[in-house]
Amino acid sequence: MSESINADRGLTYPGNLGCPGCGASIAINHALKGLGEKTVLVIPACCFAIMAGPYPMTALKVPILHTAFATAAVSAAGVRAGLDMQGDTETTVVAWAGDGGTFDIGIQSLSGTAERNDDIIFVCYDNEAYMNTGVQRSSATPYGTRTTTTPGAGWKRTRKKNIMEIMAAHRIPYAATANIAFPDDFIRKFAKAREMRGGTRFIHVFSSCPTGWGVASSLAIKIARLATRSNIFPLYEIENGTDWTLNLEGDLPVGDYLGAQGRFRHLTPEDLEQIQQEVDADLALIQERVAATRVRKAHLKPET
């Protein structure tokens, strides 16, 4: 290798133990660009807990606190309280959990933290199943998915839990979705969340899992991009639980996204049609809220 090489790897070390093409790995790279080095991560059990380094190794140049599966949010709040006692108001505390650690086992601690409006950023990197233990379904697993606990004809018949609406219901200052395939938007949202300080900020990250989804590792970004372009994973922000902004409107049918993945390969055209209708309805709901936000804001503004 030539000596002139700039080995700028940001705030991560190479050599993490994630699968080739892991979306969580890309997500942490993007996220730390927005968060900066004054960051502490709190990580519960999940794939990323392994990737962040088996003891005595670390894959990140920022401190990490490993915590129990159910306790990411409260542990982060605890770290925040500790830092406050030390007079450190600069460092950002970030809980970094999978969908299992967010939607399922982690939700009571997350809800409690959000209700107390503790000063942390909670990031859910969502790969839509319990990947670290072998692809078991979670409540973030979408309708139509085959997992090891929803195999064969028993594919998941219930829809994905809408975590964003749950978080909005807590009226926290900021909740946003982000996708690894849209780095500019992704980094902007992390930087914005960092600057907001003082309350609970929640970021729901779309994070492909080539291994669990039956997708070639090389297509991890392409698939993620399709998720947003088909409106299955819209990019939007909610401030104070009520002010909605849609960042990007997709232009592709859901079939382009679903058809490219092994976990959805069994779906019939009728299934796709049903999913399309749900996706359209969900997007329409977001659009209604965006429109309502605009009307409300126009109303609040004094006439000029």
Binding site: M1, S2, S4, I5, N6, A7, D8, R9, G10, T12, Y13, P14, G15, N16, L17, G18, C19, P20, G21, C22, G23, S25, I26, N29, H30, G53, Y55, P56, M57, T58, A59, I64, I180, P183, P210, A216, S217, S218, L219, A220, I221, K222, R225
Partner: protein
């Protein structure tokens, strides 16, 4: 403190990094940076590195873009006006929306070079003690002189007329190519060290004298003999090429009324549009179908928009002059089968011949070789290359330009001069056996375009010859965007005089147009590979050159898929 409560015992802290895990050992395929060939550049007879030129232009580095063109073509302002731009027909962007306006951008960049009075870069190769004489200061001869100089070989051009330029000067009307633009680009070639002697006609005797004094002679005499129609009354038909020359010299009689131009090539179009500008009403009479006309499509369209009438499938049988003009007898034709040349033949239709009257009739069917010594003898011991022929012996005599190129255009003439310069350099430095391989090595993709940068072992020589297709482009990164409108005079206004019919792009439009380019097959520093690499293994070296840290690359292949322009490939690990 109680020993068991010491924090280090309660909180195990990781103190080493995962860098110890050489995850590169997991890999069974590896990404490689492999820059490839853009279809436009392979289609350019002058072999210009178009993706790089557009990349530089899109960044506003117009001078760098200009210098980059000049490595392969010393005539950007000329070609930006007169080239038939086969590059645009090959452009991948056509499949998304519309091809890049490569020709208009070349003109924009070329004009910027003229405005800045930028000198051509000095010779890139070591000086050789060799001297080459060139017969004819047309585009092929001037290009040969320029490229020889680049290769450290001194070149002297002998031109029979009083000014250099050849067909560019006397054949191409000034509404397409203003004389000042031509003169400025020729002056720059002279300033780069090419000696140009005017009023020095060469004949076989003087050629022999020259051959004795120089290490080689290149003959680039062009096509100067008008082709004959071989019909009765031909004497009453005016030679279109001679007419164009007279117009350039300001000595042509002004035509008026209904006039005819016979032919379907670019000469016919140039003659007709010139006549129109003199105030006449020209009709082009062509023996095949309109779509079979060999003239460039955009020239035909411009002529028609200005008011030139085209009569297809009419073959002249005879012409007769009387006091009032010329009476043409024309045979109606019909399209027949495809001929040996691959073109649809025209054969006489059943209808009887027709008569048409014109104030004057011009022939515009092109030209042939004026003197037998302007092209190599069939029996000569010659290295026959795609764009030139080098006859070995003492002395070495090479032939360049229209008499030896399969297609005749300014860009082909430039390619011809370049090929001859490379051939002579290889001959002088490594001997006759080296000529064909040297030329072959310079091919841009499958060729026949040739690159001087490749010959000089520049960055392009490390590119892969595979031509990038539209399917290779990751169109996730390109939104549809309208092609720039090329500013032009309204046809009616253009037809009124010899002012340039087409204008140069405005800076904003030029930059936006250049930014539409996919930059097929090259790296434009978009950084996608690095941004999306999950392992942070993409390293950036000097000049933005990227490499993969194979100690850690797991071979996921995301970089290669997300490179919008196919500058990377995945390769199987060899065990």
């Amino acid at each position: 403190m109680i020993a068991s409560l010491r924090p280090t015992l309660l909180f195990p802290v990781s103190r080493t990094s995962t860098e110890a895990n050489r995850t590169g050992s997991w890999r069974f395929v590896r990404p490689v940076y492999r820059f490839k060939t853009a279809p436009c550049s392979a289609a350019c007879p002058a072999g210009i590195d178009i993706p790089t030129v557009e990349m530089l232009a899109s960044r506003g580095q117009i001078h760098d873009a200009w210098a980059h063109i000049c490595r392969e073509n010393p005539f950007p302002a000329v070609c930006g006006r007169v080239c038939f731009h086969p590059c645009e027909d090959a452009c991948n962007r056509a499949e998304l929306d519309a091809p890049i306006a490569i020709n208009a951008l070349e003109r924009y960049i070329g004009d910027a070079g003229l405005a800045a009075c930028s000198p051509l870069v000095s010779p890139a190769a070591a000086l050789l003690q060799r001297e080459v004489a060139i017969v004819g200061a047309g585009p092929a001869g001037l290009a040969a002189g320029y490229f020889l100089t680049q290769l450290g070989i001194s070149a002297e051009i002998f031109e029979s007329t009083e000014e250099p330029g050849g067909v560019l000067r006397w054949g191409i009307p000034s509404y397409r190519l203003p004389k000042a633009v031509l003169a400025a680009e020729i002056d720059r070639i002279a300033a780069a060290g090419v000696k140009i002697h005017c009023n020095r006609p060469v004949n076989p005797d003087t050629l022999a004298e020259m051959a004795a004094r120089y290490d080689a002679v290149l003959v680039g005499a062009g096509l100067a003999a008008p082709l004959r129609l071989n019909i009765s009354g031909e004497a009453s038909i005016i030679d279109g090429l001679a007419f164009l020359k007279q117009v350039q010299a300001g000595s042509a009689p002004v035509a008026s009324g209904e006039v005819a131009v016979i032919g379907g090539g670019n000469t016919a179009i140039d003659v007709a549009r010139t006549l129109l500008r003199q105030g006449a009403r020209p009709t082009i009479v062509y023996r095949r179908r309109r779509q079979d006309m060999p003239a460039f499509g955009h020239e035909i369209a411009a002529a028609e928009a200005e008011g030139v009438r085209i009569v297809e499938l009419m073959a002249p049988v005879s012409a007769a002059a009387d006091g009032n003009g010329v009476r043409m007898t024309l045979q109606p034709m019909r399209a027949a089968e495809v001929g040996a040349d691959g073109r649809v033949r025209a054969v006489p239709a059943k209808q009887p011949p027709q008569e048409m009257r014109f104030k004057a009739v011009f022939s515009g069917i092109g030209a042939g070789v004026a003197e037998p010594w302007h092209r190599p003898a069939d029996e000569a011991d010659a290295i026959r290359l795609s764009h030139c022929a080098i006859c070995r012996g003492t002395p070495t005599v090479g032939y360049i330009g229209d008499p030896v190129t399969a297609e005749n255009s300014v860009a082909h003439a430039i390619g011809s001069g370049k090929q001859a310069a490379i051939a002579l350099h290889a001959l002088f430095t490594e001997g006759p056996e080296a000529v064909a391989p040297a030329v072959d090595r310079c091919r841009v993709g499958p060729g026949p375009a040739l690159s001087m940068e490749i010959y000089l072992n520049g960055e392009r020589s490390r590119r892969n010859g595979r031509v990038v297709t539209f399917a290779d482009v990751n169109t996730d990164y390109f939104l549809r965007a309208e092609r720039c409108a090329i500013p032009a005079l309204a046809p009616a206004a253009a037809a009124n005089g010899f002012e340039e019919a087409v204008a140069t792009l405005k800076p904003r439009d030029a930059l936006a147009e250049a930014a539409r380019c996919f930059n097929c097959g090259i790296c434009n520093d978009c950084d996608n590979c690095r941004i999306f690499c999950p392992e942070q293994t993409i390293l950036v070296g000097e000049g933005g050159r990227r490499s993969v840290d194979l100690d850690y690359c797991k071979g996921c292949g995301i970089c290669t898929v997300e490179c919008p322009r196919c500058a990377m490939d995945m390769e199987e690990e060899s065990a």
